[in-house]
């Protein structure tokens, strides 16, 4: 299982990020961000990681809800972060224009995560068209099937042939869209 999140830097910076910080970060985190060399970038990283951890937390049984300040992260010396609320790990990648965070139950699982990120500026203001475009990409990568969601809104790919459900993590922000899945370990040995 996994959780991922993408944060578009330009969109976040132009959309009330300092007030957003107050809603999402605990006082301890706000103090740390205030001392960071680049508070905006540090906040964008933290938010992406909190969201990725939350999405994995939902898969692990956490309730749907609004409690971002309770999702704390601890930096580890190996470059990963640890979220004690659900006992999961989070890694972060920076690319031009966005931060990408992914959460996994074990560090070894990170190498099994396959993800794709798309830049569709023409769809940034059309969430439904962006979702449709992502579904087309999923067909290209995963084969014929249907995107379904469970009661929590967690996405799965239901293959047209066969009965398997592939857990996915989808993330959108501004012009960016992404999907990710855990590739079974057996796929590496073949």
């Amino acid at each position: 299982m996994l959780g991922t999140d993408i944060v578009a830097l330009e969109q976040l910076h132009s959309n009330r990020w300092t007030r957003r910080l107050d809603k999402v970060c605990s006082l301890e985190e706000q103090k740390w961000l205030g001392q960071a060399p680049q508070p905006f970038l540090a906040f964008a990283q933290l938010w992406a990681m909190k969201e990725a951890a939350y999405k994995l937390g939902l898969r692990l049984g956490a309730p749907l809800g609004y409690y971002p300040k309770k999702i704390s992260l601890q930096a580890r010396t190996n470059g990963y972060f640890y979220c004690p609320l659900w006992g999961v790990y989070v890694s972060l990648k920076q690319a031009e224009g966005y931060f990408w965070a992914q959460a996994a139950e074990q560090l070894a699982h990170f190498s099994q995560i396959h993800y794709e990120v798309y830049h569709w500026p023409e769809l940034a203001l059309s969430p439904r068209l962006r979702s449709a475009a992502l579904r087309e990409e999923l067909v290209q990568h995963l084969g014929p099937g249907q995107l379904i969601k469970d009661k929590k809104g967690l996405p799965f790919w239901k293959e047209k042939t066969g009965s398997s459900l592939i857990p996915l993590s989808l993330s959108y922000d501004g012009p960016w869209a992404s999907w990710a899945r855990v590739v079974p370990a057996a796929a590496y040995s073949s």
């Binding site: 969201e51 809800g65 609004y66 300040k69 969430p127 969601k149 929590k152 809104g153």
Partner: protein, 81 residues
């Protein structure tokens, strides 16, 4: 502002973030923002900020955690304006 007017104003704020349009059109007081309307956690922050701006109020953490249904959100706004 009547409760009906508050509800209408709240729904106008929520509209861009809703992912289940059918559920939104049929929304009642007990409609859940996340379970029913499929509003994600990132967009809940947008809604809280938009509500604060629209009604010139400040929603604290405790109130934000309780804003999970249309009715609860209206209750919170009504208590703060």
């Amino acid at each position: 502002m009547t409760r009906e007017e508050l509800t209408a104003a709240l729904k106008e704020i929520m509209a861009p973030y809703v992912q289940d349009q059918a559920a939104f059109e049929a929304a009642q007081e007990d409609t859940h923002l996340m379970n029913d309307l499929k509003i994600n956690s990132q967009h809940l922050v947008d809604i809280i900020l938009d509500v604060e701006d629209a009604f010139d109020i400040e929603i604290d953490d405790e109130a934000a955690e309780k804003m999970m249904t249309v009715g609860a959100a209206v209750d919170i706004i009504q208590a703060l304006i």
